[in-house]
């Protein structure tokens, strides 16, 4: 029997006047998963997250967090959920410790438990050295860590992070990614929205693509990278001059040179599947070409995302409900061929 979903959204609608921010959104997230939520600006990401965090109410449909309907049990939902907004400003005339102490008190922590929790969270987010610094004088990265620390104070089982890495420098982004990994390893469920797809792909078990209020894709990053429907590309490098390889390619049917690279080419294959790759490699070797590298090229996530959007645009209105995929249903990514 499959475990109950930690987040379940069914046929969710949210309108602001005449604008429909969310239109028939449905998906589910299993416990312990890290799920990325991707979409362009105005796609409905923040609205969906705010509904899940009980800060907004749907016009129609339902959303459940850990089995609790957000409309029927908002207080229960707030207790088990941590929300990190995309925009965050600390309080003036307060230092980092006081800021966190206030939220610890506001979350009902008292006495030694509060002090211990504060100490642990500040160490976890590496804020201990900044304890006495005014909270409004932190760098962007430190600010994000402070916001995460605030979110973690109540030890929520589910974390909803809205654009947590936006505006961070590479170092801060890496630190943040590490924190997310640790949280995931602690068994927390994370629902993260971001524009940076590659980064989400590294952190997330699955990705949810939203466009104009609909889910247009739900699956792992690998299922996007190795999308069977996409054109297959292969990098081939040879020892010696590349002209022989180019000439060989010009005689082959179903093989097209996409790009010339150092000591080789990137080929696009007309046929798909692993068999086509095997046949191509066999042919190269049999024709005596000195192949030193043969690697299937991954599709870039951004390209995949644009491809999905383009597909939806060609096909007219996107489907209202894309059936969510459970981890077991996800297609296994093929290993790269060396």
């Amino acid at each position: 029997m499959p475990a109950a979903p930690i987040i379940e959204v069914r046929d969710l609608y949210r309108s602001f006047g005449t604008v429909e921010a969310v239109r028939g959104l449905s998906f589910r997230i299993e416990p312990g998963q890290v799920v990325g939520f991707i979409g362009a600006n105005g796609a409905g990401k923040t609205t969906t997250m705010r509904i899940l965090a009980t800060l907004d109410q749907p016009t129609r449909g339902s959303a459940c967090v850990a089995g609790y309907d957000v409309l029927e049990h908002p207080r229960h939902v707030r207790r088990i959920l941590g929300w990190m907004p995309d925009h965050f400003t600390a309080y003036p005339n307060m230092d980092v410790w006081e800021y966190l102490d206030f939220f610890a008190r506001a979350n009902g922590l008292k006495g030694a438990v509060r002090r211990e929790r504060l100490r642990y969270i500040m160490e976890f987010t590496e804020l201990t050295p900044l304890a006495n610094r005014p909270s409004v004088k932190l760098s962007k990265g430190q600010n994000q860590r402070l916001c995460l620390a605030r979110t973690l104070l109540s030890d929520p089982a589910i974390l909803i992070l809205d654009e947590p890495a936006a505006g961070l420098d590479p170092k801060a982004r890496l630190e943040f990614k590490n924190l997310v990994r640790i949280l995931a390893s602690q068994g927390k469920s994370l629902f993260i929205s971001s524009h940076i797809l590659s980064e989400l792909a590294e952190m997330c078990d699955s990705l949810l693509f939203i466009d104009r209020g609909h889910i247009v894709h739900h699956g792992s990053a690998d299922s996007l990278r190795y999308d069977e429907r996409a054109v297959m590309s292969v990098l081939v490098r040879v020892a010696g001059p590349v002209e022989a390889l180019m000439k060989w390619c010009s005689y082959q049917t179903g093989v097209k040179v996409r790009e010339e690279v150092r000591q080789g080419v990137v080929l696009e294959l007309a046929s798909r599947g692993e068999e086509a790759l095997r046949d191509l490699l066999r042919q190269l070797v049999m024709d005596g070409l000195p192949v030193v590298e043969f690697q299937r090229q991954q599709q870039r996530l951004e390209e995949a995302f644009i491809g999905i959007l383009r597909q939806q645009a060609i096909g007219g209105e996107p489907p209202v409900n894309v059936p969510p995929l459970l981890p077991a249903d996800l297609p296994a990514a093929p290993p790269p061929l060396d």
């Binding site: 109950a4 379940e8 069914r10 705010r50 129609r60 609790y68 029927e72 229960h76 005339n93 102490d101």
Partner: protein, 518 residues
């Protein structure tokens, strides 16, 4: 300055705001200016030689300083108390904590009061100095300070409630109007020229009595009003306010009964009249709030009622559920109670009483009923209500001007009769006596009240009642959902572990749109 080892028993908002507030530039500068002024004038007074002069100088400085700080600075600080929370999106983070909106408001109010008390403590040496140098009455001065502090606390509460309004312009304008209203109606009108500003013993006693009688309910209502604005949509603050209306009515009833049965004289009447005036204002405020409120789509707000079975449901639908559908019968009930009380205790002439009670429900509900015609647009319910009120006001003022210029023109009769319910009182009064709108309530409405009530009030009320009853199936569905969860979730403690989720599936659809009336 650090305030770290603060007790767990303190409201977190109080701790936060004290930490922040005592370091804020506004408080620091205000405090230093007040202290410097006090020291300066003491030195100046001492240098002048005569102890009588010193005393007078100190009296002036003390009076101006305390009134400026406690009755102007602190209320203004309260008016802008939530500006940053609104503008920088911090409110959402507060909403997600276990702090209720009431705790937020109460903590904020208390922190501002504590800051005032801290300043008051620093003023004590100057009062003592006045006792030794100027030979003043120390007890009287301390009593004045205590009363100023109490009145300041009330003003801070009122301003905090207004601080929760989204629009900065509305916030500032309503703050000024409220302060003027409080000071004028609260002190000048009932106590006349021997008011509190003259510091006479009777004035101070009257002020103390007034604060004791009016202060707690007004403060509670203000904080509740603010909390309703700050709270997430899922919290119900409407029902509490309606209980407050019933309580106010009960207090007024008891007061009049006490006056009539135990005191033959009229010694306590000004205070009782003042209470009635304030209570009536508060009641109308609550009724308007209730009428402009959309019904709650959240089943958990129905749980306290469904626990009481059929009685609870009926009470909820008729008077206590959040939103306009129950506000319609509730307004009728309140008007009936007013009428009964007025009849029993002869509070006004029958014509005035009947005019007021016939006017109250349609006056409160007409903007909501009229606003339903704008339902298809994207205007928020409260804004719609306000829009109709503004439109009615403009219509009334325009007709007033026309009737003042034209006198008794028969062409004006129909527009006046069709004017929105509260407006025709002014219009009719002015029609019969140009320029007499200022004395609208002194006019005798015996016949007019019932004719005009029949023309405008009765259709309004019937329409509102019909719409309210048509909303009952929605209530029934939400009650059913609430009842299901009551059985599953008998209680929930803030410190207990999270209870297991109800074994029901996430429902496929849960329409939450409010019902458009007929």
């Amino acid at each position: 300055m650090r305030l770290r080892p603060t007790s767990d028993w303190f409201n977190p908002m109080l701790v936060r705001d004290l930490r922040q507030g005592l370091r804020s530039r506004g408080f620091t500068v205000g405090f230093l200016v007040l202290q410097s002024a006090m020291v300066f004038f003491v030195v100046l007074g001492l240098a002048s030689g005569s102890s009588q002069d010193v005393g007078e100088t100190l009296t002036g400085v003390f009076g101006v300083g305390t009134f400026f700080f406690f009755l102007l600075c602190l209320p203004l600080m309260a008016t802008f108390g939530f500006t940053a929370e609104f503008s920088e999106g911090r409110l959402d983070l507060l909403r997600l904590t276990q702090l209720s909106a009431r705790s937020l408001l109460a903590g904020k109010w208390l922190s501002l009061c504590v800051q005032g008390w801290l300043v008051a403590v620093t003023l004590l040496p100057y009062i003592v100095l006045r006792y030794f140098i100027g030979g003043f009455d120390l007890t009287g001065q301390l009593a004045v300070l205590a009363l100023v502090l109490a009145f300041s606390a009330l003003l801070v509460g009122v301003c905090l409630a207004l601080a929760c309004l989204n629009s900065a312009i509305v916030r500032v304008v309503s703050t000024i109007l409220t302060i003027v209203f409080l000071v004028d109606l609260g002190f000048a009108a009932p106590f006349g020229s021997s008011g509190f500003l003259q510091f006479s013993v009777s004035g101070l006693v009257n002020l103390a009595k007034m604060l004791a009688v009016i202060g707690p309910p007004l403060l509670w209502l203000c904080l509740e009003f603010g909390a309703a604005r700050l709270a997430p949509a899922a919290e119900n603050h409407d029902t509490g306010q309606r209980w407050m209306v019933i309580l106010l009515f009960g207090l007024s009833l008891l007061g009049h009964a006490y006056q009539e049965l135990l005191h033959t004289g009229r010694a306590g009447m000004p205070l009782l009249n003042l209470f009635d005036t304030y209570a009536t204002c508060m009641v109308i405020w609550v009724l308007v709030q209730a009428a402009a409120e959309e019904p709650s789509p959240f089943p958990h707000t129905f749980r306290p009622f469904v626990r009481w079975g059929r009685l609870g449901r009926m009470l909820g639908r008729l008077i206590l559920y959040q939103g306009w559908p129950s506000a319609v019968p509730f307004t009728l009930l309140v008007a009936g109670l007013f009428f009964t009380e007025g009849l029993i205790f002869n509070l006004a002439t029958l014509s005035k009483l009947s005019a007021f009670c016939a006017l109250l429900p349609p006056a409160v509900l007409f903007p909501q009923v009229a606003g339903w015609s704008l339902r298809s647009t994207s205007i928020a319910p409260r804004a719609r209500y306000l829009l109709v009120v503004v439109a009615c006001t403009i219509f009334t003022v325009a007709l007033l001007i026309v009737s003042s210029v034209n006198g008794r023109s028969p062409a004006l009769t129909l527009p006046i009769c069709l004017a929105p319910p509260p407006a025709w009182v002014l219009l009719w009064s002015n029609y019969y006596n140009p320029g007499g709108y200022a004395r609208a309530w002194s006019y005798d409405y015996t016949q007019m009240a019932w004719i005009l009530a029949a023309l405008t009030s009765v259709p309004t009320m019937l329409f509102a009642l019909l719409a309210a009853v048509r909303h009952w199936p929605k209530f029934a569905s939400l009650e059913e959902r609430a009842e299901r969860t009551v059985k599953l979730q008998p209680g929930f403690s803030a410190v207990s572990p999270i209870p297991p989720p109800p074994p029901t599936d996430c429902p496929a659809t849960a329409p939450t749109e409010s019902t458009p009336p007929a």
